[in-house]
Amino acid sequence: MIAALLSSFVRLFTGVQARWFGSAPDDDARRVYFANHTSNFDFLVLWSVLPDHLRKRTRPVAASDYWRAGRLRRFLAESVFRGVLIERKKVTRANNPMDQLVPILNAGESLIIFPEGGRTSEPEMRPFKSGLYYLGRAVPDIDFVPVYINNASRVLPKGELLPLPLLCSVIFGKSLRLEKNESKDAFLTRARAAVEALIDL
């Protein structure tokens, strides 16, 4: 209920439009969406633009240190977005994020991941963290869908509290899979290039 209201509001506020290039919003799709990350609005925009039936089965992966701080954030992350809160600083065998993520994919749900590991204020994307690769190893038939989110950093730049009502767009690219014997670096570089390729579309 809150989720439906919030996503309608975000769509109205940012006039966000989804453009699908090379992949489609299928009914039974189980995938990992990975995108550039410049603003807290990124995830809201991407999440809002997904069709209802997909949004209900898509969970954002977020940093637990950020989203567990404060009651409102916690409520939003846990009850509204159904976020998967993972440890990003002191990863140990006991709190390995893969143990949280893999069962979700295996249960047929999708994930949203920002593989740069944090928000950037420079236009250039940072190198990707290795999480995508390990997901690909653990769930071999999973599709990774590159997503480029345009303008969210102007709606809500890092450090600002109040958003501007600027128009955003979300571009979905052709999905990719981890190839057999593909090295970690090769896959991460390929994945990052797939997002960059969407910038000029």
Binding site: P157, L166, L167
Partner: protein
């Protein structure tokens, strides 16, 4: 002030517009059956999308008019907000402009229309050109970033003038006090909107049918001399034919329509120059077939203030 139920002239106007839209829809329908080539199909699909959007826009405009003053003020406030959103989206702004922009969207824009709703003409006419103009650089200097300072402030000031201040002159027509025509200013607003929009439509139609010579090839390659002449002449004829709903005599109505059409033409060109510079064709995709809100109202932005001031100077007390 309920125009539609009590004003006989307004009912005739509404019926007239309905008839024009019906004829346009029928023509669109038959063109759709006839067209063969792929290029033609594209043009006709766009034409029919435009006609459909005209139905929606016309109904919204008449509903707003029917409420008397307040509906039109709210409608144009929304139009300004959406136009400013398209303009700022297209204009590169600096990270440090964030707070100033927030004020522009959520304080200055609604305030301008609040002043008009409250009939505060004296302050509404200077709020943006004086006070918002001063406020934006002050807010930006507080943000403490000097990079591109002049350009950054100018972009925001320009956006507020074009998208908010000039557009607000349209509902401000309702504030005019024209002797002997109390409560009838909705028809002045109708005159302005009808002439600007039909001038645009006729320029498009004449351009598509007879256009050969480009009038501003570098700025707006679709605009032609034939379209310009046909559109302006057509707008003058329509304006003259509408003299009976205005305080103007027939030749005054013709001159007013000429001024509106010329200002509208240049408004379209100026806003095209900005689009060209940014490398886009439209300001947005809000209105199917037309592009963004700003693509639809660019002529109104330039025509409204001039029409208002001429009417104010010569006809209002």
């Amino acid at each position: 002030m309920n125009f539609l139920s009590s004003d006989h002239e307004m009912q005739i106007l509404a019926a007239g517009v309905l008839a024009v839209l019906l004829v346009a829809s029928i023509i669109g329908f038959f063109l759709n059956l006839q067209v063969k080539s792929e290029k033609g199909r594209e043009v006709i699909d766009n034409l029919n999308a435009r006609i459909k959007a005209w139905w929606v826009m016309t109904i919204i405009f008449f509903l707003a008019l029917a409420t008397g003053g307040i509906g039109s003020v709210i409608l144009f406030c929304l139009i300004s907000f959406l136009a400013l959103r398209e303009y700022i989206t297209l204009t590169p702004t600096h990270r440090a402009d964030h707070r100033a922009l927030f004020w522009a969207f959520f304080v200055i824009t609604p305030l301008q229309y609040l002043l008009i709703a409250l009939h505060r003409y004296g302050i509404a006419v200077i709020m943006i050109p004086v006070y918002a103009y001063l406020f934006i650089p002050i807010r930006n200097v507080i943000a403490g970033e000097y990079e591109d300072f002049l350009a950054r402030n100018s972009k925001i000031q320009w956006g507020l003038m074009i998208c908010v201040y000039f557009v607000s002159y349209a509902p401000a027509l309702l504030l005019l006090d024209v002797p002997g025509r109390e409560g009838q200013n909705g028809k002045l607003l109708y005159f302005l909107v009808c002439v600007t929009q039909l001038s645009d439509v006729l320029q498009y139609v004449f351009g598509k049918c007879f256009g050969r010579h480009k009038i501003a090839p570098n700025i707006s390659p679709n605009k032609t001399i034939e379209g310009f002449i046909g559109g302006v002449l057509g707008a003058v004829l329509i304006g003259t034919g509408l003299w009976w709903i205005t305080p103007f005599s027939w030749w005054q109505a013709a001159l007013m329509a000429l001024v509106i059409a010329l200002m509208g033409f240049f408004g379209g060109l100026v806003m095209s120059a900005i689009k060209r510079d940014r490398g886009v064709k439209d300001y947005g995709a809000t209105i199917p077939g037309h592009g963004g809100i700003l693509d639809r109202i660019d002529s109104l932005c330039f025509a409204a203030p001039v029409f208002f001031h001429i009417t104010h100077f010569y006809f209002a007390s």
